[in-house]
Point group: C2
Chain length 493, copies 2
Amino acid sequence: MFESAELEHAIDKARFEEELPKLRTELLDAQFDLIESKQFPVILIVAGMEGTGVIDALTSAHKVLDARHVVTFALDTPTPEEAERPRMWRFWRVLPPKGEIGIYVGSWYSAPLTNRVLDKTSDAQFEQQLDAIKRFETMLATEGALILKFWLHLSKDDQKKRLKKLKKSERTRWRIEESPWGGSKRYREVKTAAEHMMRITGTDQAPWIPVNAANNYYRSLTVGKTILNAIRSRLEQPQTTEAPPVAAPVGTPDIDQTTLLSTLDLTLNLEKDDYKKQLSHYQNRLNELVWSKKFKKRSLVLVFEGNDAAGKGGSIRRLIEFLDPRRYRVNQFAAPSDEEKAQPYLWRFWRRLPRRGHIAIFDRSWYGRVLVERVEGFCAEADWRRAYNEINDFEKEMTEAGSIVIKFWLTIDKDEQERRFKARGETGYKRYKITDEDWRNREKWGEYAEAVCDLIDLTSTSVAPWVLVEANDKYHARVKVLKTVCEQIEKSL
Amino acid sequence: MFESAELEHAIDKARFEEELPKLRTELLDAQFDLIESKQFPVILIVAGMEGTGVIDALTSAHKVLDARHVVTFALDTPTPEEAERPRMWRFWRVLPPKGEIGIYVGSWYSAPLTNRVLDKTSDAQFEQQLDAIKRFETMLATEGALILKFWLHLSKDDQKKRLKKLKKSERTRWRIEESPWGGSKRYREVKTAAEHMMRITGTDQAPWIPVNAANNYYRSLTVGKTILNAIRSRLEQPQTTEAPPVAAPVGTPDIDQTTLLSTLDLTLNLEKDDYKKQLSHYQNRLNELVWSKKFKKRSLVLVFEGNDAAGKGGSIRRLIEFLDPRRYRVNQFAAPSDEEKAQPYLWRFWRRLPRRGHIAIFDRSWYGRVLVERVEGFCAEADWRRAYNEINDFEKEMTEAGSIVIKFWLTIDKDEQERRFKARGETGYKRYKITDEDWRNREKWGEYAEAVCDLIDLTSTSVAPWVLVEANDKYHARVKVLKTVCEQIEKSL
């Protein structure tokens, strides 16, 4: 895998200085077109052997690009705000928007690679991590990102020479001292792990480009030209609106009309007295749980989805009624802002993930992609189809970071919905007003039901389960929600 | 000041439960109209004597509002990300956008008040802090925010009773233990300091509302109705487009055409050899300074403004040429995003303030308000007139937090600009293209010059000075910028 990257390259200063101005001009022009077009973000990952000058490469990249549209991310110790959220949160918060370039020195590869080199993880664990990264990058690429990953390579001899030189100067010595791999001692381990990494995560959409870094001039010109060619060729590609072909339909055909939803017993109900007693009981219990010491190390993510007028708002209100408002935030999503539109679909939800000890409630959520966007055709079929896996990965990130994730689907039947719509029409409260759109959505009842069954089949996991709530009776629904939350927290702590 | 707030109020549970549903409906309707209109943000500050149930008040507020459009901010220990930036940064990051409600339990008042109560600050220092707060709130209000500040009050006897009750229950005892003022011991000090605070910072635009909190029912109804009335009355006010009257013109009349700009010696220049030598010298020096231990505790904010084609970009490029890209970010501002438009003018600049040890470079900046927006009439006269003070406050925040702030004005004369425009027209580099707008701006040369002289007179402070750079000769300009940066850092460390 490193055969080409170990070939010797003799680019001298003269040749470099001759070629640089042209490259620089072309790169700036390409970047200018990218900024103007706002078509896609560029994500550059720079990693490599010790002594290859990853930082120098970064500095040269900055020198030839318009720094006003470049964001650099260097892996540092995570701040508490970062450490208290899923592992990938810190990367999401610095993703470049469309038109901009993000350079990552230290990236999602750093920890997996270092842990493998130091033998803190097994090959199998390493592979699992790489697989997750691959899925993440595929998602970014499918959302439009241009991803290039440079591996700066050195032969063992070249590395020794390099490190010796770095050690000599006071100004560069720290680079080796701070290095997690301990200089050239682990050359073989690094090479093996890197090879593994590149094999698994090098894809057409996010290729690894090994570059011989023994010669700085060669390194700079190669990296620069690769970036230039990639941006140019992407800019020149026709903006396809045609969706890629998709596989067979999701879910199984509904042969006997027996679905997850049709088997729910919507007659379940609670008497008012019983309701009041249970509500108060679970509200107190929830309060205690949230104040418990163990919860301080966890967090809670609650997703509420359901038919229009199924009572999501009312359930949420009962849930938070006695909670300390400093601990939770209820999130609702209108049309995305333009900052959100310039990012991958999931970005605006990542922004709202809770810190440890906190609760994030989502009144409608990322499932919009596979519900309203699917049914109304707001996104391409390929887009909502890939969303199931992306969502599963997203929720796995949360649970791995200690979040307790529970998702509620509140179901009412068509008659009950009609009753509620009509009642709302009569209240006169503006906030309850029923729009034509609400009535229109009813006409697609069947399509929504199908989408719901698919999403439950495809995204109900043991770590982030869907809870179906029979919501024709509001009392029953509210208590079931509260009770489930309490029980799940208890189980998890 | 607390006379009314010490009157006894006898609202019983029956009356409360009778009035609450109506209040709740009206508040929700008002909030709905606010959300729909997106006219202004609502900022609610809740503070008060110990034992007044500030948290309870918060919880009740949440209960009667639509929590999906309320953001709560509770003062916690600042996270490192917050602690490494100006004091007010943590508040700016949670300001509610237009249409939303922000509730602050623990606010910009908390630290000043507590420090005064504990006698850690003098009356004079306290007053100075209050004055800064007043200016901040005036700015928010002028930008459209509806600000209400509740002081929950208790007489001394009532407080004793309250605290005794709180101590009894395990669930409330922590509130007293965590209290910085030590229960009722400092009743007099708290009362005196609060009175002082309310006197200085209570304005028409951001009034303090003292509320007797001895009776929870009375407290909740009063706070709720006050909020309702304020939102309603603001929503009903006609949206005035007429600017408020302004005072006499800024600056002194230009009687003999001797201005700050006209006295600059634009013939200053450097020979190429000398330039190369000095450039390299100061680039190295800057690199050393930025790597120094002392700089880790500081940060650097550089503002670049100047005539079109004055060479800002080139100067910035030389400045960062050898800096570690992980340490700096170059910021440029296009049209504000819709998230930025829903916030006060300075919000998008606050977002970009650097952490400790880092450098933020602004290629054009908040001075756009008093330059292009003033000259082109993009904002009302009253808006750019108040901006000078707002900017001074903003920069003072930075320097007080340890930032080194330097602002460069790059000046070229009209002939030189024409030469550069024409040369650019010939290069063919798209990024250098000169638009009709650039030529149009030239026609307002005089107006811009006037605006520049005003801004320098009004915003050049000893802590955040303007440096005028003679930029007809690029070599001279670049070296002067670099040299100044080095010298100012040296002086500050």
